[in-house]
Amino acid sequence: MIWKTFRKMFLILVLVFLYLPILILAVYSFTESTNIGAIRGFSLHNYVTLFTTAELIDMITGTITLALAAAAIATVLGTIGAIGAFYSRKNASRFITTLNQIPVINADVVTGFSICVLLVVALNISKDSYIPLLAGHVTLCAPFVFLSVMPRIQQMDPSIYEAALDLGATPFKALTQILIPQIVPGIISGFALAVTLSLDDYFIAMYTKPATFDTISTYVVNATKGAQTTIKTALWALSTVIFLLVVLIVLVTNIRSLRKANMEGGRRAQ
């Protein structure tokens, strides 16, 4: 009995540890407080600031645009890489897979710094062209897309591609009409992963972004150092919005996969 209560307590403790910080931030984002500590009445002014300050809106749309663009390019590269590695000879395939793992494990700060050195210092490409930033984020995301597409290809019946060729499809048609539709779930999850990685990134953006441009991460780091309290508290609202969005996405995907599993279970039972 005591053991049972203890187990429950422990679980609650872990959950509190995980969610309390963000909950505090969420609560304070709906108040007039400028400091965490004293609550001074309910207010939506943080949200008003968030959605009316041009600087903040530009920063958010800029970050999202960057994330979508980098994720799109990374998805194409990662998917092609995975397909290529799968159909390569054994040794080549193993070599590519190993090479792909290194950027995944490597520290972002090293990736960011080395891209900066290569593109900006060595090749003399201006940071203002956004090319170093975009290239940096694609480098960050593509290996993860590779990793999320690969298992899908491995699960596929390997003779499906050959069957398409056998029925008269050219290799390109077999790829686009047969192979890619099979691995769409892997591609989508790879894309989603790439978007979140790009949104999260701080180090690569810091080394490669144009001086006048900020992503959410770099902006937040700078703002918390500064003295502008209205902006600082508006970021609490931004954090809350991001958190709620994430909760929503997780809930929707989980419910959908649960439904799908139920449907397939039902079909099998027939």
């Binding site: 040794n91 050959e162 069957a163 056998d166 029925l167 008269g168 499809a169």
Partner: protein, 481 residues
Amino acid sequence: MESKDTIIELKGISKVFEDDGFKAVDNFNLEVKRGEFVTFLGPSGCGKTTTLRMIAGFDVPTEGDILLNGKSIIGLPPYERPINTVFQRYALFPHMNVYDNIAFGLRQKKTPKDMIDRKVGRVLELVDLEGFERRAIRTLSGGQQQRIAIARALVNEPEILLLDEPLGALDLKMRKEMQLELKDMHNKLGITFIYVTHDQEEALTMSDKIVVMSEGRTQQIGTPEDIYNEPANAFVADFIGESNIFNGMMTGHLKARFCGGEFVCVDDFEEGTHITAVVRPEDVEITAPGHGTINGIVDSVIFKGIHYEITVLSGKNEIVIQTVHNARVGDRVGLRVDPENIHIMLAEDHTNLFYADVNHDFRLEYNGHHLDTSLTRIIKGSKRREDGTVVDGNGDILEPDRVRILVSLMPDDIEMTDDQDAGLIQGTISNLIYKGDHYSYIIHTELEQDFVVNDEDLWNMGDRVSLLMPVDKMKFTLKKK
């Protein structure tokens, strides 16, 4: 000039895989006539699927040429060959429904929509699945998926249909049904079928011509009757149907000694020739003791429904007999075989074949001697467990009483010695032939077996020798009793 009837010809095809240097197919030659049903038959790893893949265009031969209607198709990619394949695991496109799967090939050829509709309908009728157009693939049973896979290939009206063990994933009853249906389709359509299987019964039932393959080489090409009745070598005899196979030698005109007796036969070879004799279990007759060619003791009797399977031990030789008459274990019986039912083959490479037993420690034993090799190396996928038992690839425990190991050993690898205790088995030299640079000896052993040994030195007839047989030169095959 090739005859007009030949649709496809494989000339000296070899395939070596670059990854590991494995030679999957070695100098394969075959002519297939238009409308024929040809089966590639052999155990797994014999190169039959690789050969099929080279015809389809998925693999490129390392050597040799493939002619379709007299023209080389070596340079053509699979999508330009008028050949379609039914894959082992169907390889249907799971994201398309039945109609789209079947229409896929026609759409690649830009066939008009109404024509596609008509053709898909007709081919679905052929495989008995009318009205299945809108069904999703995963709602179909294995048998239905197989039919769709056949329909998807046939709708393109290929010149040749390749089938890669298409019935392997089906249960026995479904497999029998599909065999007949496929044969029926073949008769109706007149398309050339090339079929790959490891199931000898399937091959015998369906084919016009069977190509028996082993280790990348063609062992025999012939009609099912030819292959069953006149196997070209011990491998074919052993693989097709059940057989008793003995090593022996010709002892006179139409007389052969094997299995510890002298039998009259109809195949004429010179006296002293080393031979392999094949006798089908249904051709051995049980007589009263002393009335047959050899005598033996009934070792086991198994009721098989339409017949009994009786094993008789004669000396150390084991003879399997299928008969409708019962016998009792322990009975003394005589055995005889009609001369025309003894199939004598020249033992071309003189490979020595003998059986070793698995003892209760799961070690190999021959003539009371332990053979220093591991069972787990002989049986694919097997493992030795901590308690000493050996499990096979399926995780089933091996029963030592129910298996034996066929050992093959080349004459050059055996050495003779005077030291009687040094070798695995002892015997007397019963024949010797000078072969130019060496002598070929036949040693008749205490276990009533004949071994062929090549030696450069001269020994005398009647010499008693012991045979040194190196285990690392032996090849092993698992046999079920």
